[in-house]
């Protein structure tokens, strides 16, 4: 067992270093931001960072835990060792959980020092019975011990939430075929977790129901409320709210998580030993290839490429749109206002969902479209064809992008345009049209760039999200630049539009969105260079993770 743990350590230390650096950077950033703005809301910000980290780390680690040995080609070697595969599975999952947990603990410890030293202070906890429930800025400061308990509560919830996602994804990964599918499934679960964690925060839920729900779904023990982007708040802050019986809920969640972990270990041993000689089971909807019987003949290469890329991108984009609609419907069901019909409320809520889901899904489509073609197998297919790398790259890029923008933003704009615009988060706007297609294009391009560079779909996609997050962090870190955050610009434009006037020459829109356009072109050109000439993997730039 010691050898297995040593092997696990050797495999995980690189990721552990990256994740630790991430959480230390997050703690330093949150403290610095608080020092700059003095909102007394640092714990809420730290909580969102830890939650975001937990999801990304869980997806990465689950991919490696469930299918890493197959991807590395070491499964046969491990299966031949004189130990049970269950033990190997146990070592893998324990190593993965530790790799996820340790960085959050280190980040929270650093944050504790900042609180203990008086460098930063936290406002009193938000409670339904307390004064100024909705306004953190009007609350008193919390005592140090209360702040410390709040901090470690959000840290523990992020740990439990991330661990739960890691265990579930690893378990499901035993049934999935490869790492990319685990990553794709992780992205869907990620979106689902938004709904699941907020489910019992609306209406008048009892504490006991929140407690029971928290046992089953630890991330639901905290909710984040974001404020900012409007004239009375320079910048933005994140308030947080915790369930009363959070610690007992976390305590009871431990055996449930252990059960999922045990299930994974059992399945890992069983599935892997089988998969040494047979392919993993595949679940696939058998849709008959009807179009094959239609005598489609393409007039020229562009038509053939158009068909190919549409055939590849549309199902992906449609799945994203369907997911967005489901999220919107679930959101409407949770916050039913009864002022409008159900359909109208869905149309009102759709832009708010597409804005966020589109950022993630544009990355999924971008990396999904390129990763297969750049693999050794399909790469070989393309390398032997008389097609220029530029034609291959740009046809794929443009058709995929148009599909994303048309299905996600175009349809949403069309169907939601006449829906009532009652709050900043409901209804369509010119501000949306001017901002979010551009942001979705940026995410798509970043994902294409990451995938062409690294030749690994999930890593490329997640790097694009991280890239945007870092850009956003860098801009919003300073009071002088916070208004140049693309989302803040959208908020300002929307505010003025809702007041009856829209002017895209204001609020830094021409500068920042001009820069975004320039960046998109630059990143796309860079990606086209990195993909050229469809070189095999060993000739691309390596990244050892």
């Amino acid at each position: 067992m010691n050898s297995l743990l040593w092997k696990q350590w050797r495999e995980s230390k690189g990721l552990l270093a990256i994740f630790t650096a991430w959480m230390i950077a997050a703690a330093v950033y949150v403290v610095s931001y608080e020092l700059g703005h003095r909102y007394h809301a640092a714990i809420g910000s730290f909580s969102t960072w830890a939650w975001f980290y937990g999801i990304v780390a869980a997806i990465f680690l689950a991919m490696r835990t469930a299918r890493g040995e197959e991807a590395d080609g070491t499964m046969s070697f491990t299966a031949a060792l004189p130990i049970s595969l269950r033990r190997s599975g146990a070592a893998r999952i324990v190593g993965a959980v530790l790799t996820l947990v340790i960085p959050i603990v280190i980040g929270a410890s650093l944050f504790s020092l900042a609180l203990a030293s008086g460098l930063i202070e936290q406002a009193a906890p938000r409670t339904p019975l307390g004064p100024a429930y909705h306004r953190l800025l009007e609350r008193d400061l919390a005592p140090f011990t209360t702040s410390l308990e709040q901090l470690w509560s959000v840290a523990a919830i992020a740990i439990f939430g991330g661990t739960q996602l890691l265990l579930i994804l690893s378990l499901v990964g035993c049934w999935l075929r490869n790492q990319a599918q685990i990553g794709f499934f992780g992205a869907v679960l990620w979106l689902g977790s938004f709904l699941a964690s907020d489910l019992l925060w609306y209406g008048q839920p009892s504490e006991i129901s929140q407690f029971i729900y928290g046992v089953l779904f630890p991330q639901s023990l905290v909710i984040h409320w974001g404020y900012g982007g409007f004239s009375d708040i320079p910048g933005s802050y994140t308030d947080h709210e915790l369930v009363g019986y959070r610690w007992p809920a976390l305590g009871l969640a431990i055996p449930l998580l252990a059960l999922v972990g045990y299930w994974f270990v059992r399945l890992y041993g069983k599935e892997k030993s089988l998969s040494v000689s047979t392919k993993p089971r595949r679940i696939r909807l058998a849709i008959p290839p009807l179009l094959s019987h239609v005598g489609l003949h393409f007039r020229g290469r562009w038509m053939a490429l158009l068909w190919l890329e549409l055939r590849q991108s549309l199902p992906l984009v449609a799945a994203g749109f369907l997911l967005t609609v489901l999220i919107t419907v679930a959101g409407v069901l949770m916050e039913r206002g009864h002022h409008h019909s159900f359909g109208t409320e869905v149309l009102m809520g759709l832009p708010g969902s597409v804005f966020f889901v589109g950022m993630l899904w544009a990355s999924v489509v971008g990396s999904g479209l390129y990763s297969a073609d750049l693999s050794n197998g399909l790469g070989g297919f393309w390398r032997s064809r008389p097609i220029s790398p530029s034609m291959w790259f740009w046809s794929k890029f443009m058709i995929g992008l148009v599909a994303v923008l048309t299905v996600l933003d175009g349809i949403t704009t069309l169907v939601s345009w006449n829906a009532p615009r009652e709050s900043p988060t409901t209804g369509m706007s010119w501000a949306y049209v001017g901002c979010f297609p551009m942001i979705h294009t940026l995410m798509y391009t970043l994902a294409v760039l990451g995938t062409c560079w690294l030749r690994r779909p999930v890593v490329g996609g997640i790097l694009s999200i991280l890239g945007y997050a870092l850009l956003s962090v860098a801009i919003s870190a300073f009071p002088q630049t916070v208004d140049f955050d693309p989302i803040n610009i959208y908020n300002h434009l929307l505010e003025t539009e809702r007041n009856g006037h829209i002017d895209f020459s204001q609020h830094g829109y021409p500068l920042i969105y001009g820069l975004l356009s320039f960046s998109i072109i630059l990143f796309a050109l860079l990606a086209s260079r990195l993909a050229r000439p469809l070189q095999p993997k060993y000739l691309s730039i390596p990244l050892a993770l």
């Binding site: 489609l296 020229g300 053939a304 050794n376 032997s384 008389p386 220029s388 070189q535």
Partner: protein, 306 residues
């Protein structure tokens, strides 16, 4: 004399400090089936990638049908049919969709030929490619590589991964096609018994260098194994083309190129010997892992007999 279909002259390629190809020269006439033999890492795939214009050589020149792939790779690829070992196709496509998709990329694409060969290889036209067997996939790859009637076909270990029966079947189909077409074929493989059946000429590539090139029949004619008494061999000079020496008790098995000269010398000295014909894989083995240090020298032989 007509221009060779493939002409490689003093080709050199390195990746960083690792030299992969050095002074590689080949000349493959029109209509010839040429086998490029080599172990893993010998430089076969790098040579093929340079031929397709996917890599630029560090030294030397390459021409396919008079076209330089480094300067006009698309023109080369439109005239070449290429099938790789690990080539996959879109699993969601059907064979018919694949053919329709590829057709616009090749002005000479022959859909009737493609359809007829899908039938001949018993490949279902409208089944998803991911549902085809490995053997069917390789044959579909062959159809996709040949349906534009290329004048040059490059096959990079296409039958690897198939079971022995499927390999034989694939090669039988390949031979049938080659007999009816007049295209030039460059066949890279390390399944030598199968290459032997189809190759007119071979080149042996070892650690980035061509160590032997010649007509297959001629090669078999020139490279022989000679069995003779150990002591008798010790009294003879070392053969000019010595490739491998193995001692079995008091007998010596010598594999040598230019065997006729050595056999003449043995006969002239009245030394009894037995000549064994070699298969291509045995010739290849002698060239790439043959050991000549066991050749008996006079003094050691004298000491042993004393």
């Amino acid at each position: 004399m007509s221009e060779p279909a493939i002409k490689v002259d003093q080709l050199g390629k390195s990746f960083g400090s690792r030299e992969v190809l050095s002074h590689v020269s080949l000349s493959i006439p029109m209509g010839q089936t040429f086998a490029l033999l080599g172990r893993n890492g010998a430089g076969k795939t790098t040579t093929i990638r340079i031929l397709l214009g996917l890599l630029t050589p560090d030294a030397g020149t390459v021409q396919l049908n008079g076209i330089n792939p480094a300067s006009d790779p698309l023109k080369v690829r439109s005239q070449v049919g290429y099938l790789a070992e690990d080539q996959t196709m879109y699993g969601w496509m059907t064979p018919m969709e694949l053919c329709r998709f590829l057709a616009p990329f090749y002005p000479t694409w022959d859909m009737d030929w493609a359809r007829a060969n899908l039938d001949r290889f018993e490949i279902p036209h409208h089944a998803r490619i991911r549902e085809l067997s490995k053997g069917q996939s390789v044959k579909l790859g062959l159809v996709a590589a040949l349906a534009h009637h290329p004048r040059i076909v490059i096959l990079d270990d296409p039958a690897m991964g198939l079971d022995p029966i499927a390999r034989k079947e694939f090669n039988r189909d390949l031979v049938e096609h080659l007999q009816t077409s007049e295209c030039t074929v460059l066949y890279s493989s390390h399944l030598l018994d199968e290459v032997e059946a189809v190759a007119d000429a071979v080149a042996i590539l070892d650690r980035g260098r061509i160590v032997r090139v010649g007509q297959t029949d001629l090669l078999r004619e020139e490279v022989k194994q000679v069995l003779l008494a150990y002591d008798a061999a010790a009294g003879m000079p070392r053969p000019q083309g010595l490739l491998d020496v193995r001692r079995h008790d008091d007998r010596l098995a010598v594999v040598t190129d230019q065997a006729s000269a050595y056999l003449e010398a043995l006969s002239a000295e009245g030394i009894d010997h037995e000549v064994v014909d070699l298969r291509l894989d045995e010739i290849f083995e002698a060239y790439v892992i043959g050991r000549t240090q066991d050749w008996p020298n006079g003094s050691r032989s004298a000491a042993a007999s004393a």
